[in-house]
Every structure is written in C-alpha cells, then in structure tokens.
Symmetry: C2
Subunit: 213 residues, 2 copies
C-alpha cells in the first residue's frame, strides 16, 4: 500500500533532506553526525502524523528524536508539520521496524517509543505486534543497556499481551498506568489518536519497560 495515495511523497522526502535524511542505512553508527551533537537518541517506531515526536522534541531540546514510519502517505503529514514548525532535533525515516539493525549501531538508541501500535488482534498475527519478542530482540540490540521502551495504547488486548511479552522477556515494568489521563503524569505529549480517543472517554494504558542489566 505504500505510496499509493500520495505518489509525490517520495519526491517530497527527497526535497527535505534536513528532516528526512537520504540513504539512512549509511548513517548507521553516525547519527550524532546527522544531528551534529552528542545528545541521546530517542526513536519512535510508528510515528504516524508526527504530533507526538514533534511535541516531545520541542519539550526536550537536549534529545534527538527519530521517527520511523512505514507508510509514506502518513509520513507526509508528519513532514508537513515538521517543516511548518521547523524543529531542529527531529528526523523522519520512511522505514520498516524490522530493519532497525540496518539503521542503528548497537547502543546507538537510548529510548524507544511505541504509541498506539497496530494491535493485530488475531493470534496468528502475534508476530506482527511491535511488542512481540523478535521486535524486543531488535530493540535490545540497538538500545543502550539502560534503554527503555515507553509504550502507550488504548487497546486493552494489546496492552495485556504486551505486559506478558515484556515480562516474559525479562523486562521490568515501571510507571504502569491503567488510566493515564486520570493519573498524575506530567508532561504527557499526546498523539493525534490519543487526543481523539481519550476525549471520547477511552482509557489510555501506559508503561515503561526496561531491559535487565
């Protein structure tokens, strides 16, 4: 389905290399050069229309944010926002999470955000969920030993599954919230989806999962 709706997406990405680095695989191990500083790198897998990553980047100027988005049509919206807001510490990559090891060196990423990932509710699609163990393997390789996965979703089934998957992998769950918007979490940056569904009264679930040293 990629690029079917907005065939000009690839051209737009190519015209904005300051936000969408060309040949990202060649940046592996050298993302500091791209940002021209030593700040930690936080990665959002499935960055959608970019509201979260751009909001986080504005709130945390000392962190570099990279957003991965598989759908070029969706990523166009994130790029448009980014051009408009001109936030210096964000880059977008039109790449697949399965290729994380081609994009990042071991220990190159300090934190991974998963927001409202596709729940893939059918059992036979378990392997596609971004909290399935093969994805946790990838996260572990590219993340520093103290790295954390910060996860939020409104999907009860995906959250229940992910609590199992994180813990079965030996990860420790911290800051678990079973109703984020009635909890006292400060500085929560909402995704577009989160804004819509929490305003309808849906619970937002959140946790931080940390690899064991």
């Amino acid at each position: 389905m990629r690029q079917r709706n907005k065939p000009w997406a690839a051209d737009m990405f190519a015209e904005n290399p300051q936000f969408v680095p060309t040949n990202p695989i060649e940046r592996k191990g050298n993302w500091k050069d791209v940002f021209q500083n030593d700040h930690p790198i936080h990665l959002e897998v499935g960055t959608g229309k970019g509201q979260f990553i751009i909001g986080m980047a504005k709130q945390n100027p000392d962190v570099n944010f990279i957003g991965l988005e598989l759908s070029s049509s969706v990523m166009v919206s994130a790029l448009e926002k980014l051009i408009e807001e001109d936030v210096p510490n964000v880059r977008l990559l039109n790449e697949n999470a399965q290729d994380l090891q081609s994009l990042f060196e071991e220990n190159e990423v300090s934190r991974i955000y998963l927001n409202f990932s596709d729940p893939w509710p059918k059992n036979r699609h378990e392997k596609r969920r971004l909290t399935y163990k093969t994805f946790l393997d990838l996260y572990r390789v590219v993340m520093s030993p103290t790295g954390e996965v910060h996860f939020k979703t409104d999907n009860q089934g995906l959250f229940e599954y992910s609590l199992h998957s994180f813990s079965a992998y030996g990860m420790t769950l911290n800051q678990v919230s079973l109703d984020l918007h009635t909890s006292d979490m400060e500085d929560n940056v909402m995704t577009e989806y989160e804004e819509k569904f929490s305003s309808k009264g849906s619970r937002i679930y959140r946790c931080e999962a940390k690899f064991r040293l």
Copy 2:
C-alpha cells in the same frame, strides 16, 4: 485488633480441628498427612469470609486448599460457611502471611492466590502490600519451582504497583486481564468483595505471575 469483635472465635476454631488444624506450625512439611492425600496445595493469603476458597474447592476436588486469614473475626465467617457446606479439601489458618516459612516447607505449595488484598496506598506502607518483594521472597521459598501467584483486585493502584513488583522480581506475567468480567475467563470464582464491586461496574484486574526457573 484480633479477636476483639468475636472473642469466642478462638473457641470455635478449637472446636473444629477438622477445618482449623491445631498447632499448624507442627504441620510444616506434612500437610499431605492433614489432607490424607497427595493432591497439590493451593494457598489463599487473606481468605476473608471464604467464598472464593470454598467455591474453588468445590470446583477442584483434586486440589487441597488452605486459607490464611489474619483476622479471627473475619475467619469465623469462613468457618461457618465451611461447616455448613462441609467441603473436605479446605483448611483455614488464623495466621499471618509473614509466617509462611514457619507453616510450609520449601516446595510444599503449588499455587498462591491473592484476592483483593489491602492496597496500602501510601508509599510509606509499600512494604505491607502482599505483592512487595519481601512477600514474593516468602512465596518463592514455600512454592514449587513451577508455582504461580494468581492475583486479582479492583484496586488500580495496587494492580499497577504489582505489575511493577512482579516484573522487577523477574516473574513472568500471564493471563493478564484488565477487565476480568468482560473477558472470556471461564470458571472464575468470585469473592464476596468481587461480587459487590463488579456488580457496581468496577473493573476487576487479574494476572498470573510465575517465577522464572
């Protein structure tokens, strides 16, 4: 506060040794003799008025159930039910969870149930929560290596905390349910408390936590 409301509780326990074994500490390592069979032993810590343990015992005649209840006044109600229903595979102990190692030999227990435990919401009372790490230490010692803690509560804060505590202890979370009564769990036996609060629309949270081999 023990025995203040029902000073005759101790007498009633003494009069029913078939359900409330005398000198339970002397049974350590020999609970099979008490039940006169080799069935696995499931322990409920905080058994309250006994509806859960008696319901479970009727549903699972091949399991031996032991209920610990600190409050003698509360345990009286459980004993009254037990006498009335005359279920052979239940014993009640008016004991403190902190004394588990005095009551059970290593590996003597196959499963531990924690139902609607006191949430002790203040941070300074964390150590009193039955899912605090010192309690997990006790459970690990008395449980067989494949033993599981089955936990349910309506208290969001206690459940959030416990997901952290179990995972930080290296336990794997299975069968997580963030809304038990709309899930497809069969054979759920409700506690008195659960019946009351779920009928009012409160969510019931549940998980099974397993020690890593």
